[in-house]
Symmetry: C2
Subunit: 123 residues, 2 copies
């Protein structure tokens, strides 16, 4: 007998963040967190429609197809919302070597040391 | 010969988010993303000083010692900043069964299905 799956109709709550929700991109295969950026409603819809992650660039104030220029696109594997629907987790396949514009795999490459300095991680 | 580690003096950039930065809590052992919340300067300092994660509650507008009431505290293992220092990643040991106030392990328990509905993940 098939188990019944409990489902809900949900949409991200864009109101709390003035039209934006933070979106975490996690490597679907390694679990590594690659970056955190923001989505507006359009970016979230484009992400679903195209299967590639779109963000909203706060600095450029425009829709941002991640990797659209560099080719380092992020292919959507799974999408999750959190308990109050105001944060998004996208599990992705990162095309190309880097998620970060610095050429590093992950944007989270500054690791805090005990003395309060930050080690710059390469790779 | 010991390799030289490249280090920097950094502080999170709280200005871009009106005094707040998003902070992602990741299970240091499994890689699972447990929650996303926000830190102000005080919360970030308290996290470092105490070794337990502190956030800033946007709804209550006050410092929030995660698990201070329930006992489900988050013990800091590593802290990372991203490339422009406006997002924090904390790798943690989650004490107790749940990071989420709903009793679930992770706050990201709504998984999007192909039909646009969200499956409610238990556990």
């Amino acid at each position: 007998m098939a188990e019944k799956i409990k489902t809900l109709s949900l949409t991200p709550n864009f109101d709390k963040g003035s039209g934006l929700v933070p979106a975490v991109a996690q490597d679907a295969f390694t679990g590594e967190i690659l970056m955190l950026a923001y989505m507006n409603k359009e970016a979230f819809q484009k992400t679903i429609e195209t299967g590639q992650v779109h963000y909203y660039s706060r600095s450029r104030q425009e829709l941002w197809h991640k990797g659209g220029g560099s080719g380092n696109v992020q292919i959507v594997k799974e999408i999750y919302l959190d308990c109050d629907w105001d944060a998004v987790l996208v599990k992705i396949e990162q095309v190309g070597a880097a998620a970060c514009h610095t050429g590093r795999r992950s944007c989270f490459h500054f690791k805090r040391l005990k003395d309060g300095q930050y080690e710059v991680l390469e790779g």
